[in-house]
């Protein structure tokens, strides 16, 4: 008898999702889908709003990465109003951006993902979580908490409000940094970098050693990748060109504002979340596990795959080691966790770079803007992948059209593939248990949706 197994809700991810596994009469997996149902309609309700208000509205798309939406929108509205932020404004925005990455990566790795690796896969759900981690490794938990607090505190000092931020404004930033603040932040940044390096070392010893085993259990998929690089092919988070990499490793670079020429969106009846695929490959779209078409991944692994190098020394060393071991592009889904910690090191190094630039403390942080008709595309690399905000304004500077492609949207297609693959690999004869289902969720969690 055909049967549907639901995992509801998918947990330890940001947002609401469910997995439906369709079994055939024989209890084998016929299909498996990840459905995300939290459509809120931002593209509708930003219409008519004064564009300068948008960064403060769209931040509410996501409570974990509000800075990403805040900054992508700010960049987009800058373009609409043709207001170029002064250097200090740009630097402050980027500093906030990397700090947000840092505290997001700590959260995801330690609070959400790590319990899967630190506890046995068949351990009880009531233990396999942050609270269990606190019980088992109180010192680690305390340090992780402290480091997140430090990142948050730095953000608050720079931007006043850390969650659902308000400081990025059209034309720049709302508040300059004083020299005194800069010195204090430099010191804190060094603490963060030190932690990042130790965290990566520890993870290599305690966590990643289990990846080979788990990857085998989950099964693999093969897709392309999308990420941001600078003109020299260096990894970038805040600003750069988009690089689309085929599964085989060929790349195309393009300006973010041209995204709609290279990427396309579509909907499927079982999900309100749209799916994005690579239009540039001219092969259409298919989730066929064996012969996917147009499917690519974004997020940590994607960025680590598409960049040629990382411009900061510690992270570059880790990248080289990673590549030597997994090749380029690396396809294993769980490797995203590893890539995440390499990015953490990069982000901490980038914080120190930005704070070392004395221009960041200049008093001029904002260029006054005039409302006008225009179109602007703002793109940043969010922890969850490439984020694109595309707005059009009218003469009064109010929004008339909006298109938003958030990181996870790109990953809906590959996540579905991963879920399908994992379910097919793990389920045999309709037998499921909690540990098995959690493994399927682990395939999703690697994407940090």
């Amino acid at each position: 008898m055909p049967q549907v197994i639901s995992i509801q809700p998918v947990t330890r991810i940001e947002g609401q999702a469910r997995i439906d596994i369709h079994l055939d009469d024989a209890g084998q997996v016929a299909d498996a889908r990840l459905a995300i149902d939290a459509l809120r309609g931002f593209e509708q309700f930003v219409i008519g709003r004064p564009a300068e208000e948008i960064p403060r509205i769209v931040s509410r798309i996501c409570g974990i990465c509000p800075w990403m939406h805040h900054l992508a929108a700010a960049k987009a509205i800058d373009c609409c109003f043709a207001a170029t932020p002064p250097p200090a404004g740009q630097l402050l925005r980027e500093l906030c951006h990397v700090l947000a990455h840092i505290h997001d990566k700590i959260l995801h790795f330690f609070f959400l993902a790590a319990p899967d690796f630190i506890f046995e896969p068949n351990s009880d759900y009531s233990v396999r979580n942050l609270m269990g981690l606190v019980q088992r490794q109180p010192e680690l938990a305390a340090e992780v908490v402290r480091m997140r607090q430090l990142g948050l505190a730095m953000l608050e000092r720079i931007a006043g409000k850390a969650t659902h931020p308000v400081a990025a404004v059209v034309g720049g930033f709302a508040k300059p940094m004083t020299e005194q603040e800069r010195q204090g932040l430099l010191a804190d940044g060094r603490v963060l970098l030190d932690f990042a390096c130790r965290a990566l070392d520890a993870a290599k010893k305690q966590v990643f050693v289990r990846f080979a085993e788990e990857e085998t259990a989950l099964g693999a998929i093969r897709t392309g990748f999308l990420g941001t690089v600078d003109d020299q092919g260096n990894l970038r988070f805040y600003q750069g060109r988009l690089r689309l990499m085929r599964p085989g490793g060929d790349t195309i670079d393009f300006a973010p504002s041209d995204y709609d020429r290279y990427l396309a969106e579509r909907t499927e009846p079982w999900s309100t979340a749209k799916m994005v695929y690579a239009r540039a490959w001219n092969e259409g779209f298919s989730l066929d596990l064996e012969a996917p078409r147009g499917v690519y991944r974004v997020n940590t692994l994607a960025r680590i795959n598409v960049c040629d190098r990382i411009a900061t020394p510690l992270a570059q060393a880790e990248l080289e080691a990673f590549r030597a071991r997994f090749g380029r592009p690396a396809q294993g889904a769980l490797l995203a966790h590893w890539a995440r910690l390499i990015e953490l090191v990069y982000a901490c190094e980038r914080v120190l770079e930005l704070l070392a630039d004395q221009r960041i403390a200049e008093p001029l942080v904002r260029t006054p803007a005039e409302p006008r008709a225009g179109r602007g595309c703002g793109q940043v690399e969010a922890p969850r992948g490439t984020l694109i905000h595309d707005f059009t304004t009218d003469d009064n500077g109010c929004i008339v059209r909006a298109n938003l492609i958030v990181g996870t949207t790109h990953n809906i297609a590959p996540m579905n593939m991963s879920v399908h693959r994992a379910a097919s690999t793990l389920i045999d004869g309709g037998r499921v248990d909690a540990a098995l289902l959690n493994r399927i969720e682990m395939a999703v969690r690697a994407y940090d949706p």
Partner: protein, 306 residues
């Protein structure tokens, strides 16, 4: 319940962004301390509690003494979960502004569900109708107290971590939590004179202040002619310290919702402006003054367009 057993905490999100849950985690040490006071029985961000596997009927949620619900209610599924939560939780807390007043997602209430659906899924991209999900939408986004009885509003976008922890701790101990009742202005240190520039302008250039000087030497932003919603917004974002937006030198946009539970931020602020002799027509897009409190039927599709 045995005497030694700790109160159970159930934390669930509905039409939300997870910012509230993250804020709880951002409590850091305080959050770790809270774990000593309560047992978390459901918390999708952290804990793998599942509804009965494969059950299509009523969601199966654990009983708890304290329930935190973030997000408003926008779909039948969410409504069903909310009703279950109400039944299972002795004290139900509207966690965050969305649950309390609709929050940003309730901006949708300015359009019909159909209009929104059509805007998001433009014809040319629509490879399917999406009817399935659409039919599960409610007519609008509701605050949770419009659908079930709620024992406490804990507004904020997000609520301040210290406040969340203190509130849960108080409830766990059987005390009445202490929440801010006054407006954002209460702890705003800016200089107010009661008179001010008789106009409002868009926030296209920064406020006038000396970045080296402390905030208490900056003139009240509203009196500077910037539309600041502090007076009509309940405070608490900065605890007993200055409001967070003011720290960033930007005007408040009202994210904690109205200062009075039944207040109307749009009407209240326009009234303030009218009282000051400011032409409210200078405000572009008045209705976005309800951007955090559009539930409770405050934001509606325009009657002239229907």
């Amino acid at each position: 319940m045995s005497e030694t057993r700790r109160p159970r905490l159930c934390c669930h999100w509905l039409h939300a962004c997870s910012g509230c849950e993250l804020a709880l985690l951002n409590g850091g040490d305080l959050f770790l301390g809270l774990l000593q006071l309560v047992d978390i029985v459901h918390f999708p961000l952290l804990l793998d509690y599942k509804y009965a596997s494969g059950a299509e009927g009523k969601p199966d949620l654990p009983a708890a003494e304290i329930g935190l619900v973030s997000g408003g209610v926008a779909s039948k599924n969410q409504l069903e979960v909310l009703r279950t939560l109400r039944g299972q939780c002795r004290i139900l807390v509207a966690f965050g502004t969305c649950a309390s007043h609709g929050g940003i997602p309730a901006l949708r209430n300015q359009w019909t569900a159909e209009q929104t659906w059509n805007t998001v899924f433009q014809e040319d991209e629509r490879s399917c109708s999406g009817e399935f999900e659409y039919e599960k939408w409610l007519d609008r986004v509701y605050a949770i107290d419009e659908q079930v009885e709620v024992d406490l509003l804990l507004p904020g976008c997000p609520p301040r971590p210290e406040t969340i922890v203190a509130t849960v701790a108080a409830l766990a101990a059987g005390h009445q939590p202490q929440l801010a009742e006054k407006s954002v202005c209460e702890h705003c240190p800016t200089v107010r004179t009661g008179t001010g520039r008789m106009s409002v302008r868009r926030f296209l250039a920064n406020a006038d202040y000396d970045p080296e000087a402390p905030v208490d030497s900056m003139r009240c932003l509203l009196e500077q002619g910037l539309l600041c919603m502090g007076p009509v917004t309940v405070g608490g974002c900065g605890g007993r310290e200055m409001p967070l937006c003011i720290r960033a030198r930007v005007p408040c946009r009202g994210c904690y919702g109205p200062v009075r539970r039944q207040g109307n931020q749009l009407l209240d602020l326009l009234n303030v402006l009218a009282s000051k002799g400011i032409d409210h027509r200078a405000i572009v897009d008045r209705r976005s003054l309800l951007r955090f409190s559009g539930a409770h039927g405050l934001l509606k599709p325009n009657i002239r367009e229907g």
